[in-house]
Symmetry: C2
Subunit: 351 residues, 2 copies
Amino acid sequence: MAAHEPPGAWCPLPSADGAQVQLAHGGGGRLGLDLVERLFRPAFANPWLDAAHDGAVLDLGQARIAFTTDSYVVRPLFFPGGDIGTLAVHGTVNDLAMCGARPCHLSAGFILEEGFPLGDLETIVGSMRAAAQRAGVTLVTGDTKVVERGRGDGVYVNTAGVGLIEHDLRIAPAAVHAGDVLLVSGDLGRHGIAVMAAREDLDFTPPVTSDCAPLADAVGALLARGLPLHCLRDLTRGGLAAALVEIARAAGCALHVERRAVPVADNVAGACELLGLDPLFVANEGRMLVVVPAEAAQAALACLRESEVGAGAVQIGSVSGGPAGQVTVASEIGTVRKLELPSGEQLPRIC
Amino acid sequence: MAAHEPPGAWCPLPSADGAQVQLAHGGGGRLGLDLVERLFRPAFANPWLDAAHDGAVLDLGQARIAFTTDSYVVRPLFFPGGDIGTLAVHGTVNDLAMCGARPCHLSAGFILEEGFPLGDLETIVGSMRAAAQRAGVTLVTGDTKVVERGRGDGVYVNTAGVGLIEHDLRIAPAAVHAGDVLLVSGDLGRHGIAVMAAREDLDFTPPVTSDCAPLADAVGALLARGLPLHCLRDLTRGGLAAALVEIARAAGCALHVERRAVPVADNVAGACELLGLDPLFVANEGRMLVVVPAEAAQAALACLRESEVGAGAVQIGSVSGGPAGQVTVASEIGTVRKLELPSGEQLPRIC
């Protein structure tokens, strides 16, 4: 195909001439969703992209596998509780776990900026190694590119992952039904605030540490108990709010959340108040939403609480039949508002 | 793990204090190999990385799959014969094919620079769609990040791929033996020269077009004939030379090439002479080295020549027992020189 030939008979993003990428296109908000729904999904139309899941579930030969990818551009590269290396491993491991898979193998692609200190690269690679060991995955293939000064930001890391699905459940937004309940695995907002504090040199007391951690063992325990999981979603870009909106849309259900049930640590709540942020929209890297039928809620919570990453698990809301795609939040004083996504991200480049 | 905690008991790159990433670390030369062999491979020590192959061959459940990744940072984004989108699909499809796999599914991770024209993104996505259709793969999962102006270069694309291995051959550098012969699938150097011409606004007559193309069907045909393939390698960064050196090292054999047997189109040869480049070191994106036992050479060449991408296939050399790791080239007038890799890339950012 010639370099500038038009892309053919698919539905392009109806952008005005001269429209450009904005920072908000990379966030967990409306513009990011738009880019996926209006550009990428029509171009590559297939059931896997339509599933709006954290990864693709594929039948490959005799195996059922999950396959996912994320690029990591977090700024700064090092923050309390982790660095771009820990993030690049746990983030992709968690996306595999959200498909109900046992994470097995990762790839890593590095885009290095000329002049980046090799010592920092060693530290990041060491973090990736430690995170991979903790999550029980091996990094089996990789690639390194170098770009000129001013064409990158130290290092960007892409990881892709493959995992094995060893059960017959269908864990996906489309499996969410009226009568399900919404559980979160712990307190929210720590990762976004930790990165923001490191970036802007803010001091909170006690300091906020990222929750970056692998969720696969906790998911494995839920599966081992035979619990009827309907959907799993890690609460990264756009936080809990983006996850709820995406699931409500894909499932054609209404989701309702009790704000006072959502756990937020005091230092995170204080930081959010100071910065004018809503913790429901702040990113996490070691927290997930678990959607199960109401009758399985207590067993799922008990199982989650046995794991380190799920010790603070609670029920925060429920699923009803409609209006399809609507998410509502009851405030601490009982008023109910519709939850809408902002156009972009409150905090850009947090992962 | 704390942000700056040392990475633990593995062998770090013995870099002097203050050592920094250089452009040459991203090339197909010695510094790029050093980074892999001294930093990445010890950190993630496992047999897949040790295989020094284009991808990893994995047993996953009942399936034998290949898994690979590459990031694409080509400059300019559009060049005669393709763009970063075609490259990102064919490059990863070809790495899967080099493992002897049938490419099945790709992931795509985009790192967009703020201000990048959405129209260009549409063109690139359209190229990816067309290339995926041509190669018979589906793009099933993806991710988009946006970085601020001056922290990227329009768009960087990462693709990872999974493919299915449906035979029992071991196709890898370590399977290369004395008595094997070296085949290339066509003329060399077109991709690197096409990108260079586009970047520097050079005119060659006739214009040089990238050879960017999927090699999987040609590999599938070789496998379908039951030919005893020992190694396959696409001739990207560092060109034929880098492939030969890497295979000679990994196999512990000596490789010998007859320079006059290596096909180079007249316009590429002319451009190389003008630019002071050796076509053996220039990147290709639709050419491969095929290593087979001598007795299978004619059948393999005949099979390759039946495919569009292999129409110009020829034998260029042979494998002997030693000295281990040595690559020699006989010039057109018969003098023999040892082929050594330069420290970096003749042409940075060609893929």
